[in-house]
Amino acid sequence: MVRLVDLRVELAGLELRNPVVVASGPLGVSLGLMKRAEEAGAAAITLKTATLRPREGHPNPVVYELPYGLLNSMGLPNPGAEEMGRLISEAKAVMRVPLIASVAAQSPREAEEVAERLRGADALELNASCPHVRGLGAELMDDPQLVADIVSALRSFGRPVFVKLSAHGDWIGVASRALGAGASGLVAINTLKAMAIDVRAKCPVLGGVYGGLSGPAIHPVAVRVVYELHREFPDVPIIGVGGVETWVEAAELILAGATAVGVATALRRGFHVIGEIVEGLRAYVAGEGLASIRELVGAAHR
């Protein structure tokens, strides 16, 4: 007997039907894929990170599969903020779940220009953590003041602003400054900086040389980052991301302090994983004799 349980959560003003969100990346710039994710049960969709101008990304190979995760070196390919904005308008017309637009920029000015074009989205996420693109993404982690300034700029659009953190660098410090500048929530973690070398070819495999490690391998790292962020900032909503393959990893991140969880690499097994995670969480909450999943957020700290 599965009891009636309430999976809804509120995330910096966004009303989510359950805590499972698609993380930035796997859906590329496809409305069709967004719809498939929504139909599979996702409670919100994060768009592919957009830059001001179009980017082709790194040459192939862009991924390297490992038994316990995935290395990717996409290099933030995207059609630029202008086209991403058009996609968002189209998507808003047909999607019922909130859309979170992901922004990459090197200055507050640039971030504003990007966000201006993405204003149709329900929330903005600053990608301060992409490990395989020079100048964009993770380099921001070294400059907390810049992150704060970009957050201030993004705030002006009247949408919740999330900051996506890397597990490298001083994420507590960056989070603290970003929150001080008005960020509404945090997303953690992005992929870990990594690479692969083929021992026969004797050279790096990825076209971009460096890549980001995702999937099960990084899950224990994500749990730790989310746990510490929640301990430092107990009132701040967090989207926990990293190695969520089943409801178990999702539950771990929620217990650590995440209000919602993001899924990326697991989608290589198909969109059905989203529904499986949602239903698994439902059974878990019921099995624990609770009425709402909200009671579990941060419960591992108690």
């Binding site: 859906l27 710039v29 496809s30 069709g32 967004m34 991924v63 390919p77 059609p79 290589r268």
Partner: protein, 265 residues
């Protein structure tokens, strides 16, 4: 997680098409219509259909297109090491009965693998092969010799009838009954064949190409809108019904930055 391989043979089968026969370190285990990503270290990686698999050997038919295929044609000879990941994607449904295989140019590649499987399953196979000219004769050989019956058309009439694979297919579909049509080639050509088959109530599958980056369904590069079909993971083989609902089919393409651009003919 690449499987290493050695190039056993690199033989031109047309002015700008090379057949590579690779010996892999271990069996690939592909089904017809699946593809592999072939990595040329320090150069790049491209999607290629498995044209044949026997033991640890696979055949690839590679058309010169751009950077990586150009490098392969110019440099990759017998004895080279190539790195393969796969098999990837979802291949053709292998049906019984009588099948019509329609291949345009290098599009015959997955059909060769399919033909062997169909024959193995006891099907009768008729092939309709369109080539630019008789110079591509060797490209058609494998499929022609596998099929129970093969019809070749060339654009200039230098081999077989003058015309396209569509012309051949249309004639065959008009005069006989087929249980299944499989097609691979340019999208405009595939569109026409799908229409011909569906008009006659014959089940049809087509194998598509799009810009493939990850090859495993996690990046969205190869998507067909508005259905959100990933060629690399939901395909490359799709049934005709699905493709008629995929507006992009035959019309739009996503470039490397994900911009929607008109499909080159």
């Amino acid at each position: 997680m690449y499987v290493g391989s050695e190039v056993l043979r690199a033989e031109p089968v047309g002015p700008d098409v090379v057949r590579y026969v690779l010996k892999l370190e271990r069996r690939l285990g592909s089904s017809p219509g699946q593809f592999v990503m072939v990595w040329v270290p320090r150069v790049g990686e491209v999607a290629l259909s498995v044209a044949r698999e026997e033991g640890r050997e696979i055949h690839l038919l590679v058309a010169r297109k751009g950077r990586v295929t150009g490098f392969m044609h110019d440099n990759v000879r017998e004895g080279w090491r190539l790195y393969v990941r796969g098999p990837l994607g979802r291949g053709f449904a292998v049906a019984k009965g009588t099948a019509l295989l329609v291949g345009g140019g290098v599009g015959v590649a997955p059909l060769i693998h399919l033909c062997a499987a169909l024959k193995g399953a006891g099907a009768r196979v008729v092939a309709a092969i369109g080539l630019r000219s008789a110079d591509y004769r060797a490209l058609a050989e494998d499929l022609a010799s596998c099929a129970d019956e093969a019809h070749v058309a060339t654009e200039d009439g230098s081999l077989g009838i003058r015309g396209t694979a569509v012309d051949v297919a249309e004639a065959l579909l008009s005069e006989r009954h087929f249980d299944f049509v499989y097609v691979c080639g340019k999208e405009a050509m595939m569109r026409q064949v799908i229409e011909l088959a569906m008009a006659r109530g014959v089940r049809v599958e087509a194998s598509l190409e799009r810009l493939v980056k990850c090859g495993i369904g996690v990046c969205g590069a190869c998507v067909l809108e508005p259905l959100g079909l990933r060629v690399c993971a939901d395909g490359p083989a799709f049934d005709g019904d699905t493709l008629t609902r995929a507006g992009d089919f035959g019309r739009w393409w996503h470039d490397a930055a994900g911009r929607r651009v008109p499909l080159q003919p």
